[in-house]
């Protein structure tokens, strides 16, 4: 299955190497009974009660004892287990992944019914800004400095490629969907904050709100740290907002029901395929998904090469600043981080709405992948209004999980460790350090510009002086730079500009 080899967050210096065999063997808690059942028949069944607890129900045991149901321990499968694995425990996942490849896209386009027939599905593609940045950085690195290519130019060229060569009807970028996602995100934060303030000490699982846009983080939290789930935002990611926009808002305008649109997204991340495949985003009424197929930046580039298209060649009008011909605003800018500016959008809201002047301070914890942001009132004895953090990469993610677990009194991990702790961690008196209100969590070091689906560096891994591996930081830096390149020469400026002041 192409999944494993491709689904590697390779070149991430704190991440995972893939292996071919599943490293999570099934544990059998109950010793096999001596009684023989007919071959092929399951000895036990798994039952789930209303609280979501799993019980092993054995027909044999049930006869012997009145309480024949064995409560099952939660199986823990980490991101490491999952991503390092080609033999998914549920093969359903891997089947879904094969439905999420660029060949699948080509197959669909080839077999799509004639236009103007009722079976014809309108093919639409939506491209993430990080993917545009990756392609732009790759084009810029292969040409000289004054031939720098911006994400906007890349988008314009891709519009031509996707429409003229592949046959897509519409080509969007996902930033307008992100704008909606960010607004919803801020709204959810305010709701949680209000609920937390109302409930006071009794507030549980409201704050800190943890970003939900990174499917790698979601996958890991669901499998290894279920105690974090209440904190994770319920807001859809930009990809899924785009899915809704295209199928339920644009679709009717094109005279189509959701199943009459075929929606492909281009993402910097393999795990976005898993996100699109979630049950949450399946429309049972029309038996269709908000996003039908996700391909990575690398897969898109492969399609471009296979079709013999030259992405380095300019297309007419590619330098014009605005193009609303598709019906949605193009390349909406969100200052903050290249992973979506989730933290920034919440901070901006607080700064804008707080009564009285406030100021922001930033503290780097260890490296740029972990930064703490504090908003404080500008007055004598001014209180801390907000404390948030951006936290990228598996290592920092560990520390966030531990910190949030400790601050909010939720047990991290299994009960075993909980039993060990006899000296309960009680916050010292006078220890009134402000807890986090929000954390922008991303699984990849460097965030989405360094996603697993992005283009790899042309060169082999660079070697340091001692023959030491230094990773692909340089490449990530280039993509980061390209991401902020608006083509208007002041990319650095507007990056820090207040979005709402414009």
């Amino acid at each position: 299955m192409a999944f494993s080899g491709a689904l590697t967050l390779t070149d991430l210096n704190d991440f995972i190497n893939p292996s071919q065999a599943c490293i999570k063997p099934v544990e059998q808690k109950d010793a096999p009974r001596s009684q023989e059942k007919e071959a092929g028949a399951a000895l036990t069944e798994i039952m789930i009660d209303s609280s979501g607890t799993y019980y092993e129900v054995s027909s044999l045991v049930a006869k012997e004892s009145p309480t024949g149901n064995t409560k099952l321990a939660q199986a823990h499968i980490s991101l490491n287990d999952c991503l390092a694995c080609s033999g998914c425990i549920t093969s359903a996942e891997s089947v879904l992944i094969t439905l999420q490849s660029h060949t699948e896209v080509l197959n669909f386009l080839a077999s799509n019914a004639e236009a103007r027939t009722s079976e014809h599905k309108i093919p639409v593609v939506s491209i993430a800004p990080q993917s545009l940045a990756s392609l732009a950085a790759s084009l810029s690195s292969t040409s000289c400095i004054d031939r720098r290519v911006t994400p906007r130019q890349v988008l314009r060229r891709l519009k031509v490629f996707c429409k003229d060569v592949l046959g897509f009807a519409h080509v969007f970028d996902t930033t307008f969907a992100r704008e909606l996602a960010l607004r919803e995100h801020v709204k959810e934060f305010l709701e949680r904050k209000e609920a937390a303030e109302k409930q006071g000490e009794a507030a549980e699982g409201q704050l800190p709100m943890l970003a939900s846009a990174c499917p790698g983080w979601i996958c890991y939290a669901e499998k290894a740290h279920s105690e974090m789930l209440p904190f994770i935002a319920k807001t859809k990611s930009p990809q899924q907002v785009m899915g809704t926009l295209v199928k339920s808002w644009m679709g009717p305008r094109w005279g189509k029901t959701p199943d009459g649109v075929y929606h492909v997204t281009v993402m910097p991340c393999y795990d976005k395929k898993l996100e699109a495949s979630r049950k949450d985003f399946y429309d049972e009424l029309y038996a269709t998904r908000d996003v039908d197929c996700v391909i990575t930046t690398g897969e898109l580039e492969m399609m471009i090469r296979e079709k013999g298209w030259d992405l380095s060649a300019p297309v007419p009008g590619e330098l014009e600043m605005s193009d609303a011909s598709e019906g949605l605003p193009e390349l909406v800018r969100h200052p903050g981080t290249s992973s979506g500016s989730y933290l920034q959008s919440i901070m901006e809201h607080i700064e804008r709405t707080w009564e009285g002047p406030v100021s922001v301070s930033v503290k780097m914890i260890r490296n740029s992948d972990y930064e703490e942001y504090t908003i404080t009132e500008d007055k004598e004895g001014g209180k801390v209004v907000f404390k948030g953090a951006k936290c990228y990469g598996f290592r920092n993610l560990q520390n966030i999980v531990r910190k949030v677990g400790k601050e909010r009194g939720v047990r991290t991990g299994a009960g075993a460790a909980g039993r060990m702790m006899r000296r309960t961690a009680v916050a010292k008196k006078g220890d009134v350090e402000k807890k986090y209100d929000y954390v922008e969590v991303m699984a990849c070091p460097g965030g989405c510009v360094n996603g697993g689906g992005q283009l790899k560096g042309a060169k082999e891994e660079e070697k340091g002086a001692d023959g030491v591996k230094w990773g692909s930081k340089e490449l990530t830096g280039k993509v980061e730079e390209a991401y902020w390149d608006g083509g208007d020469g002041d990319s650095r400026e507007w990056r820090w500009q207040r979005r709402w002041d414009v």
Partner: protein, 365 residues
Amino acid sequence: MDVDLPYRLVPVADLPGHDDRAWHLAWNPTKTILASCSADKTVRLYSYSPSTNTAENPELAFKFLTSIPTGHTKTVRSVAWSPSGQTLATGSFDSNIGIWEKDGEDADEWECVSTLEGHETECKSIEYSSSGSLLASCSRDKTVWIWEVHPEGDFETISVLMEHTQDVKCVAWHPEEEILASASYDDTIKLYIEDPSDDWYCFSTLTGHASTVWALAWSPGTSSYLASASDDKTVRIWKRVAQHKWECVLVLGGHDRSVYSISWGKAPKSRRSSGLGDLGWLASAGGDGTVLIWELSEPKSLEDSSPSKPDSTPPKHKLIASLPSAHGVYDVNSAVWNPRPGYEDLLATAGDDGHARVWRVVPSA
């Protein structure tokens, strides 16, 4: 052959008590305490002091102090003391690491002040760095983690190193520098340092062993040597030939089965003053039940050898003692030298019989 050896191991104490195999031992670096851990999920602590009843007999009396039930749900595979001797860490097959402290100097109870979760499966080995500011752990999940020690039993993950392709058996910190070594079922040893602007990274992989590398031990002091014990029945000595380069300079045989444990201590002062064993004593033990003691000395440096040329001359080595059947018919899982000055001739072993034993190395004559 035993009769020819200049030293022998005499029993000092036999410490039964574990209900299952004893895996590992740790001598407290500042106090007279020995800790042992076992598949019975407990840690047992013993104190030792000169025996009072016989003035001529300098032998030590070992006294059982306490047993820590730990709460680990599976085997406690390894124990490690912080350099201050105040904190004990336990690494368990339940994948967690326990951090234990006493509430006060006089308190009897050891309390769990922290649990470190992160490993996905069995934690195999843990060790504090020489400064005590870092703790390394390794696991069957193929990873090596580095944790930074904070006040109040707090820890921060500062690195997750995924370099090995198999189960990682052992981690060992250089006695002075912040260099970490790890040994694995993938037959290799990896060495790591911190990139000050980034993360920790593996700067060297030592290959040579033909099977699992079970244990590692740095030579004491300004260590230029690393010893490794393997399932291939050998112990290899790796020498630092450049700032970031170690080479295998010596292969020691003598065991009939897997070598599970090695410990490299200073030779007793009396021995060192005679100009021998300046590199210390190396104890190895394993599946054949035998404990071997090697004396290692710096090779005579040749005056004319240019300093720029890597000096890969092996250390002088000599087998000075051999003890068969240290734990009867059982495997010896661990052999550890007492690091405290004046006690350098004390070796503790742990075996599948669930016993911890303490031995003294004495001249054969």
